[in-house]
């Protein structure tokens, strides 16, 4: 009598389902968001250190490798945001009487709408 059989857990569990890979992508893209925040902090520090330091910092950031890193971070951050906007309706259901606001609409109301608005305000502020 050898009793119940426990199946082994492998380290590569995230390869088992496409959904797990999507989950890993969502979590890993979070690092880019965090990384970009650090970058912004550094930028602020340089700004505080004086005009020369800031100008030099901007100079460094315009090298091709930094530009490439920016593009990658942008793509990752957008992807990360999209996954969260997709999740928001699940985590925060909005009811109107018996009817629940359909997920795509809820994503617009709670995610894409405010995102685009804030972006538009910033763009307007910068380009003014």
């Amino acid at each position: 009598m050898s009793g119940r059989y426990h199946r082994p857990h492998g380290w590569a569990w995230f390869l088992a389902r496409p959904g797990y890979l999507r989950f890993m992508a969502r979590e890993l893209t979070g690092f880019f968001v965090a990384g970009y925040l650090v970058l912004l902090l550094v930028t602020l520090c340089r700004l505080g250190a004086g005009e020369a330091a800031f100008a030099q910092w901007l100079q460094e950031l315009s090298t091709p490798s930094w530009m490439f890193a920016h593009v990658v971070a942008l793509v990752a951050s957008v992807w990360h945001s999209v996954t969260w906007f997709a999740a928001v309706p699940q985590a925060m259901p909005i009811f109107m009487g018996e009817k629940r606001l359909p997920a795509p609409l809820a994503a617009v109301v709670m995610g894409y709408g405010p995102w685009l608005t804030v972006t538009a305000v910033i763009v307007w502020g910068v380009l003014r």
Binding site: M1, S2, G3, R4, Y5, H6, R7, H9, W13, F14, A16, R17, G19, Y20, F23, E27, A87, Q90, A91, M92, P93, F95, G97, E98, K99, R100
Partner: protein, 253 residues
């Protein structure tokens, strides 16, 4: 329609009295486009090998007995049609993330304990007093929890959850969704009691929102959504308890 064609089922076998390791056994079954995987397994049990062991009952997707891994996906085998796999072979395994009792039968002991832990029943003082008639509940109040009451305990969500497989303390999708169902029921007064359970250790915080529980749920319960909502409630509660310890609570009144 039954034809002369056949197809192959490769079935996970394990017998606790004789096997130290599981193995796969291939069976040739008649191909009928109206058949579900469960029909094929029953056919094998009836006509070829009486020792093949599985659970089933209603064969209409509501008793929750016949969940298995079908080509690596957790499925109700009464709702998985052969025609969706034909002519390739179908691999049938017991649900993952559970100990295997024998062949396709897994142990539900852990789930039964977790379900009981979330106190899945109405908690209020007058619950056994029927003299005042039914509790009133508007269709809108009903709608707030109805989806989470549809769980058939089929365990597919635990098989799709990478955390449930690794973290013992995690209560898991179905149990948490049912706890949340009662928390959202307008008739219930037991939310604080349930949150005590949910706030402990990894009980709810183990969830990293992979979301596959919702993908595989045959009854569209959306346990992933339920857990995130429950986390938000639990977080508020946690914060309240953190900034307002028991003494402060008394001072409020």
């Amino acid at each position: 329609m039954r034809t002369e064609q056949t197809m192959t089922l490769e079935i996970f076998r394990y017998h606790p009295e004789t096997d130290s390791e599981p193995y796969f056994q291939a069976y040739e079954v008649p191909y009928d486009e109206d058949w579900v995987v469960l029909d094929a397994i029953n056919w094998i049990k009836d006509h070829v090998d009486g020792s093949l062991t599985h659970r089933w009952s209603c064969r209409m997707g509501v008793c929750g007995s016949c969940g298995m891994m079908v080509n690596g996906d957790p499925k109700l085998t009464c709702a998985a049609f052969l025609k969706d796999y034909y002519p390739r072979p179908i691999k049938v395994e017991p649900l993952v993330n559970f100990p295997v009792e024998r062949d396709l039968v897994v142990s539900l002991d852990g789930f039964m304990e977790k379900l009981q832990a979330v106190k899945p029943y109405i908690i209020r003082d007058d619950v056994n007093d029927t003299t005042g008639g039914e509790y009133r509940q508007s269709p809108a109040e009903l709608a707030r929890y109805k989806q989470y009451s549809m769980c058939i305990n089929c365990m597919l969500c635990y098989s799709a959850c990478p955390v449930a497989g690794h973290e013992e303390e995690f209560l898991g999708p179905a149990a948490l969704a049912l706890g949340h169902r009662y928390n959202r029921d307008s008739r219930d007064r037991g939310r604080a009691e349930r949150l005590d359970v949910m706030l402990a250790g990894e009980a709810i915080w183990g969830c990293t929102f992979v979301g596959e529980c919702t993908v595989v749920c045959p009854k569209h319960v959306d346990p992933a959504g339920a857990i995130q909502q429950a986390k938000a409630v639990a977080a508020q509660e946690y914060f309240k308890r953190f900034v307002m310890p028991r003494g402060a609570k008394g001072a409020e009144t």
